[in-house]
C-alpha cells in the first residue's frame, strides 16, 4: 500500500529554475562590488621565495595571508589547510593571493603579471611515494592523515585455519563533481559585520570557518546561502575557503567583493572523489565457504586533510558490503600527496568500498563456479545480524524480496544463460550489485557533533516558516520538507515558507550532507509540527535526540556505525564493440528501500541522476593526475554523460517504515550512486570474460585487460 505522502507534487523550485528566473551567485550585483581573481600555485610542492606584483592601479588591491585578521587555517577536522599559502605550496592550484578591483580585465592583468619565485621541494605524487621515507613528509612525520583498524570476530584464527585464500586488488580513480554552477561567493563588510552570500551546502560550516579566520565573535558574522546549482558534496567544505577570501577582501577594500570561479578554475582547484587502492583477501574453508576476510583500504587524500578521515571511516564501515562476513579485519589509511585535495562526493568513500567488495565476490563466485548472485545471497545481512563494526541490524532487511523483483524485471537468469552461448563478436553481459548506505552521520555523530536544531514559526499571516540551515542544491528539500510540515499541520503546501538559509534567521540544523536532510532534519520538523499543532505555540524549537537503540564507541569503532541503512540492488546490461571495446549500456534496473519516499518523483529523480553519475564514474569520467597536474581540465576533456549516453532506468521502490524518520523515511540521496559502478563492471566482466579490477572501465583499460599487458 502506497503511503499518501509519497504521491508526487510539483516541485516548488521548478518554475523559477526552468524559467531562468532563479538568481545564482553570478547573477547578483551589489552596489560598488569589486571582482576578485585568485593567483594559484603552478608548482606541486615548493617554497615561495618571493612574490613580485606589478604596480597596482588606483582602486586595486592584493589580498594575501597578511590580510587575515585571525588564523590562516580553514576550520575543518584538523585545520591544516591555510586560506592563502603560508610560504609553502602543496598542490598545483593552491591559492596564494587575490587581486581585487572594479574591472575584471585589470584584475586579470594583475594576476597575469604577478611573478612567484619558487624553490621546489621533492614532491609526492602517489600513495606509494607517500610511504617513501626518502621524501620529506607533507603531513606530520609519516604523511598519514588518518589510520584506523576495525575487527570482527577472530580474523587471524580464520586465516590460520583456512583451506585457501582468495586475494585481489582494486583501484578507483578521481571523479569531479561538475555541478552546473561553479563555486562562487560574495563577501560584504558593513557596520562592523561581515556577510557572505554563496553557493553552498553548509552555511554553518562556512560561519565556523569565518569565526576562526577572522577571530571575531559569531554575532559579527552572517552567512546566506544563495540558490545553488548542484553540489554533490563539492560544496560541503570548499566554500569555507573562498568565503574567507571574499570576506578578507571586503574588509580590506571596504566594498562588496565577488569571487566566482569559471569552469577551468573550478576543475583545477576544488576537491575530487578520493582515488583508492583496496586489497581484499578472503579465507575459505575446504567447502568454499567464506570464513574470514581482510580488507586493506588506502585513499589518496591530496595535499590537505579536509574531510578525508570521515570519508575513510565510511569506506571501512561498508567494506564488507551488504554481507554478514565472519572474522573480519579492516585496515584503512588516507595519505597526503601533492595532488589536489580530495573531499566529499556523493557516497563519501562507500562507492570505492562497494565496488571492491562486489567485484571481489563476483570473481570469487566465478572461481567457485557459482553465479555471483547465488554466492552473494548466501551471505546477505539480515535482521539481527552483526555488522562489520559489531552493531546489530535492527531493521527489517527486505533484500531477498528486492533481489527477486530485480531478477524478474531484468531477466537476469535467462540473459546470463543466453549470453553464455555468444560468439566472439557478440559481446553482451549482465551484472548485478547489492549494496547499502548508512544514513546520516556516523554512530553518535548526530548527537555528539552536529546537535541539530530546527525551528517552526507561525507568521502573522498564518503561514508557517521552516527555519533550518539545510539547503536545496537540486535534491528537493524545498519541496519535501514543506510536504512533511504541511501534511502534519493540515495546511496547504503553499502556506509553508522556506527561504534559503540565513544564519541570522535559522538555527544550526547541521550540514546538508550524508543524505541526512529528510531523515534527520525532516524528522525534527515533523516533531516540531506536531507540537506547533497541539501546543498552540507560535514558535517551536526542536533538538536532536538520539534514538535510544544506538550504541556506538567512536574511539574503537564498535557498535552501530549508522542509525539505519537504506538498501539497493542494481542490474546493468551492456554490449561491447568487439573492435573498439566501447561499452554501450543497454539497460539499467534498480530496486531500492529508502523507507518511505517523501515524494516518489523526487526519489526517482535522485535515482536517475545517481545512475547517470554512477555510470559516468564507471566508464567515461576519466581524470588523471600527472606530476600533480590534472590532465583533464575542461569539459571537453573531462567527459560526463549526455542524455544519449545511457538509457533511462527501470526503477522500483520497496517501502520499509523507519520509526525515527518522518513518515518512515530513511536516506535516499547517495544510495542510488553507490551500487552503479559495480553492476556495470560486473556486466562488462560477464561480457568479455576478464576480471574488472579498476574504475573507470575505459575502452583503453578493456583493451589492455583483454589483450594482456604491453
Amino acid at each position: 500500500m502506497k503511503n499518501k505522502i509519497s504521491s508526487s507534487v510539483s516541485r516548488i523550485d521548478t518554475p523559477e529554475k526552468t524559467g531562468g528566473k532563479a538568481s545564482y551567485i553570478a547573477d547578483i550585483k551589489l552596489e560598488g562590488m569589486l571582482h576578485a581573481k585568485t593567483l594559484r600555485s603552478e608548482r606541486a610542492r615548493a617554497r615561495i621565495k618571493a612574490i613580485n606584483c606589478p604596480n597596482l592601479p588606483e582602486g586595486y588591491f592584493i589580498i594575501d595571508r597578511q590580510d587575515i585578521p585571525g588564523k590562516n587555517s580553514v576550520k575543518m577536522l584538523i585545520d591544516d589547510q591555510p586560506f592563502f599559502a603560508d610560504g609553502i605550496v602543496n598542490y598545483i592550484g593552491e591559492p596564494i593571493l587575490l587581486a581585487v578591483g572594479p574591472e575584471k580585465e585589470t584584475v586579470n592583468w594583475i594576476i597575469e603579471n604577478t611573478e612567484v619565485e619558487y624553490e621546489d621541494i621533492l614532491p609526492i605524487f602517489s600513495v606509494d611515494e607517500a610511504k617513501d621515507p626518502a621524501k620529506p613528509p607533507i603531513f606530520q612525520k609519516n604523511n598519514i592523515f588518518a589510520e584506523y583498524e576495525i575487527r570482527k570476530g577472530n580474523p587471524e584464527k580464520a586465516f590460520e585455519g583456512s583451506h585457501r585464500v582468495f586475494e585481489k586488488e582494486y583501484r578507483t580513480g578521481y571523479q569531479e563533481h561538475i555541478y552546473l554552477e561553479p563555486q562562487g561567493v560574495i563577501g560584504t563588510y558593513d557596520d562592523g559585520r561581515v556577510t557572505v552570500y554563496g553557493s553552498m551546502q553548509c552555511p554553518y560550516y562556512v560561519k565556523t570557518a569565518l569565526i576562526h579566520g577572522l577571530g571575531w565573535n559569531e554575532d559579527m558574522i552572517r552567512v546566506v546561502q544563495t540558490t545553488t546549482g548542484g553540489a554533490f558534496g563539492g560544496k560541503e567544505d570548499y566554500p569555507s575557503i573562498i568565503a574567507g577570501h571574499a570576506v578578507f577582501a571586503a574588509l580590506k577594500t571596504n566594498r562588496p567583493v565577488r569571487l566566482v570561479f569559471d569552469r577551468a578554475e573550478d576543475i583545477q582547484s576544488t576537491t575530487k572523489r578520493h582515488p583508492s587502492i583496496i586489497k581484499i583477501k578472503t579465507a575459505l574453508d575446504s567447502k568454499g565457504t567464506i570464513i574470514g576476510m581482510n580488507v586493506d583500504i588506502t585513499l589518496d587524500g591530496g595535499a590537505y586533510c579536509g574531510l578525508s578521515p570521515v570519508v575513510l571511516q565510511r569506506a571501512m564501515f561498508v567494506s564488507t558490503g551488504a554481507y554478514n562476513i565472519p572474522n573480519v579485519l579492516v585496515r584503512g589509511k588516507v595519505l597526503a600527496t601533492n595532488n589536489v585535495p580530495s573531499g566529499a562526493f556523493r557516497g563519501f568513500g562507500a562507492p570505492q568500498a562497494i565496488f571492491a567488495i562486489e567485484m571481489h565476490l563476483n570473481s570469487l563466485a566465478e572461481n567457485l563456479k557459482m553465479d555471483p548472485l547465488d554466492l552473494k545471497k548466501k551471505y546477505l545481512l539480515k535482521k539481527g545480524d552483526p555488522t562489520v563494526t559489531g552493531g546489530k541490524l535492527r531493521e527489517d532487511v527486505k533484500m531477498p524480496r528486492m533481489i527477486s523483483l530485480l531478477e524478474d524485471i531484468s531477466g537476469y537468469r535467462k540473459k546470463k544463460a543466453s549470453f553464455h552461448k555468444k560468439n566472439a563478436r557478440d559481446l553482451r553481459g549482465i551484472g548485478i550489485s547489492l549494496f547499502l548506505h548508512g544514513c546520516a552521520f556516523t554512530g553518535s555523530g548526530e548527537r555528539d557533533k552536529i546537535k541539530a536544531k530546527v525551528k517552526l514559526r507561525k507568521e502573522d499571516d498564518g503561514k508557517v516558516s521552516i527555519l533550518v540551515s539545510n539547503v536545496d542544491m537540486g535534491q528537493g528539500p524545498q519541496t519535501t520538507l514543506r510536504k512533511i510540515v504541511s501534511k502534519i499541520l493540515g495546511i496547504p503546501f503553499s502556506q509553508v515558507l522556506y527561504d534559503n538559509p540565513d544564519t541570522d534567521r535559522v538555527p544550526d540544523s547541521g550540514p546538508t550532507v550524508a543524505s541526512r536532510t529528510v531523515m534527520i532534519v525532516g524528522y525534527l520538523l515533523s516533531r516540531a509540527a506536531e507540537k506547533l499543532k497541539t501546543e498552540g505555540k507560535t514558535e517551536v524549537t526542536e533538538e536532536y535526540i538520539q534514538p535510544p537503540y544506538i550504541e556506538w564507541d567512536q574511539e574503537n569503532f564498535i557498535g552501530d556505525a549508522y542509525p539505519v541503512y537504506s538498501w539497493g540492488a542494481n542490474a546493468v546490461e551492456v554490449s561491447i564493440d568487439p573492435d573498439t571495446y566501447e561499452i554501450k549500456v543497454e539497460s539499467v534496473w534498480g530496486v531500492y528501500d529508502v523507507g518511505t519516499p517523501i515524494d516518489e518523483q523526487i526519489v526517482y529523480g535522485q535515482i536517475e541522476g545517481g545512475i547517470s553519475q554512477g555510470l559516468g564514474y564507471a566508464t567515461i569520467e576519466v581524470m588523471e593526475s600527472r606530476e600533480g597536474g590534472l590532465m583533464q581540465r575542461s569539459m571537453t576533456d573531462y567527459i560526463i554523460a549526455s542524455s544519449v549516453d545511457f538509457p533511462g532506468a527501470e526503477k522500483r521502490l520497496i517501502e520499509n517504515y523507519y520509526d525515527y524518520g518522518p513518515f518512515g523515511a530513511k536516506c535516499a540521496g547517495e544510495l542510488p550512486f553507490v551500487g552503479v559502478a559495480p553492476a556495470l563492471a560486473a556486466a562488462v566482466q560477464n561480457a568479455i570474460g576478464v576480471p574488472i579490477e579498476k574504475l573507470p572501465v575505459t575502452p583503453e583499460y578493456l583493451l589492455e585487460a583483454a589483450e594482456g599487458g604491453n
Binding site: 575584471k104 569559471d262 573492435d579 576533456d637 549526455s642 575502452p699 583493451l703 589492455e704
Partner: protein, 281 residues
C-alpha cells in the same frame, strides 16, 4: 578592441583580406574556443577579424556530372540536408558535436583548423577532395592532402581564402565509417575510420581507406589501396595480415588526455580488419 569587417561579397572579403592580413571567421565554433579567456573576459582576437560565414557565394552547393562543389561556409547542417552530398560525408557530419554547433560550424572551418582530430578530413581525403583557394584575382586548386601540412597548419597564405571544396563523383557500394569518441555524442574523436569500396561480383574495383586522429595528419595510402584494387575478395582476405602490417607502419598516434597510443593504434587496425573482413563481403 580589434576591427571587425563584415564584407557584402566574396570580392570585398578578398579585398579586405589582402589589405589587412586578418583572421577569417566563418562559424567561429573553433575560434571562439581557441581564443577564449577565462573568468568572463572577452575573447582575445589580436588581429582584425573578417566575418565570412554569411557570404552567399561561400554557402552554395552545386552539383555537376563530374563533381560536387561545396562552398566553404556551408554549415554541417546545410550539408546534411543537401541531396548531392555523399552519404559517407553525411554519416560523418551527423556525428560532429551537437545540433547547435552543427548549425554554425562550417566545412571550410573544419578543414582550415587542420586539427588531427578534424572529423571531415579523413572522409575528404578518402573522397579525393580538392580545395579552391582564392586571393586577389587568382585562384589555385590543391588536393586536400597537399593543403594540410600538419597539426593546425595549412599552406593557406595570409591573403588567401578557402572558397570551395570539390568532391569528384565516385561510386561505392560498401561503406564503413566509425568515430570513436570520448562519449556517444558531442565528443572529440580518439580515432575515426573511413572505409569505402566498390565491389562488383567478387572483385573489388575501387577502395579507399583513411584514418583520423591517429597521426599528425590523416593516414591514407594510395599505394596500399592500389594493391587491393582489382583483386578478388578471397585474395584480399588472404592479404589482410600484410595490409594490416603496411598500415601499422603508417599509423603513429600519441598518448594524450583522451586516449593512449596503444589503444589508438590497435583499434585503428581492428577497424581496418573489420572493414576488410566484415564490411567488404
Amino acid at each position: 578592441m580589434v576591427d571587425t569587417f563584415k564584407p557584402q561579397s566574396l570580392q570585398e572579403a578578398v579585398d579586405v583580406l589582402s589589405d589587412k592580413g586578418a583572421i577569417l571567421f566563418a562559424g567561429g565554433t573553433d575560434l571562439m574556443v581557441q581564443r577564449r579567456r577565462r573568468g568572463g573576459l572577452i575573447p582575445d582576437f589580436d588581429r582584425p577579424v573578417i566575418l565570412i560565414g554569411h557570404l552567399k557565394e561561400l554557402k552554395e552547393i552545386s552539383n555537376s556530372t563530374r563533381e560536387i562543389r561545396i562552398g566553404s561556409c556551408c554549415t554541417y547542417t546545410a550539408l546534411l540536408s543537401h541531396k548531392a552530398v555523399p552519404e559517407i560525408l553525411k554519416t560523418c557530419v551527423s556525428q560532429i558535436a551537437s545540433p547547435g554547433i552543427r548549425n554554425r560550424g562550417t566545412i571550410g572551418g573544419n578543414i582550415c583548423n587542420a586539427s588531427p582530430a578534424g572529423d571531415t578530413l579523413p572522409v575528404l581525403y578518402a573522397l579525393d577532395a580538392s580545395v579552391i583557394l582564392a586571393r586577389d584575382n587568382k585562384e589555385r586548386v590543391l588536393p586536400i592532402e597537399k593543403f594540410i601540412k600538419g597539426p593546425g597548419t595549412t599552406v593557406l597564405e595570409a591573403d588567401e581564402l578557402l572558397t570551395r571544396i570539390i568532391i569528384p563523383h565516385s561510386s561505392f557500394n560498401k561503406f564503413f565509417y566509425k568515430k570513436v569518441g570520448t562519449r556517444a555524442y558531442n565528443a572529440l574523436s580518439k580515432i575515426s575510420f573511413t572505409g569505402l569500396a566498390l565491389k562488383k561480383l567478387r572483385a573489388v574495383e575501387d577502395v579507399r581507406i583513411a584514418f583520423g586522429a591517429v597521426s599528425p595528419t590523416v593516414v591514407r595510402s594510395k599505394d596500399i589501396e592500389a594493391q587491393i584494387r582489382g583483386k578478388d575478395i578471397d585474395a584480399i582476405q588472404k592479404m589482410i595480415p600484410e595490409i594490416l602490417s603496411h598500415y601499422s607502419k603508417l599509423i603513429d598516434p600519441i598518448s594524450d588526455q583522451r586516449s593512449n597510443r596503444r589503444y589508438r593504434k590497435t583499434v585503428s587496425l581492428n577497424l581496418l580488419n573489420s572493414f576488410l573482413k566484415n564490411y567488404m563481403l
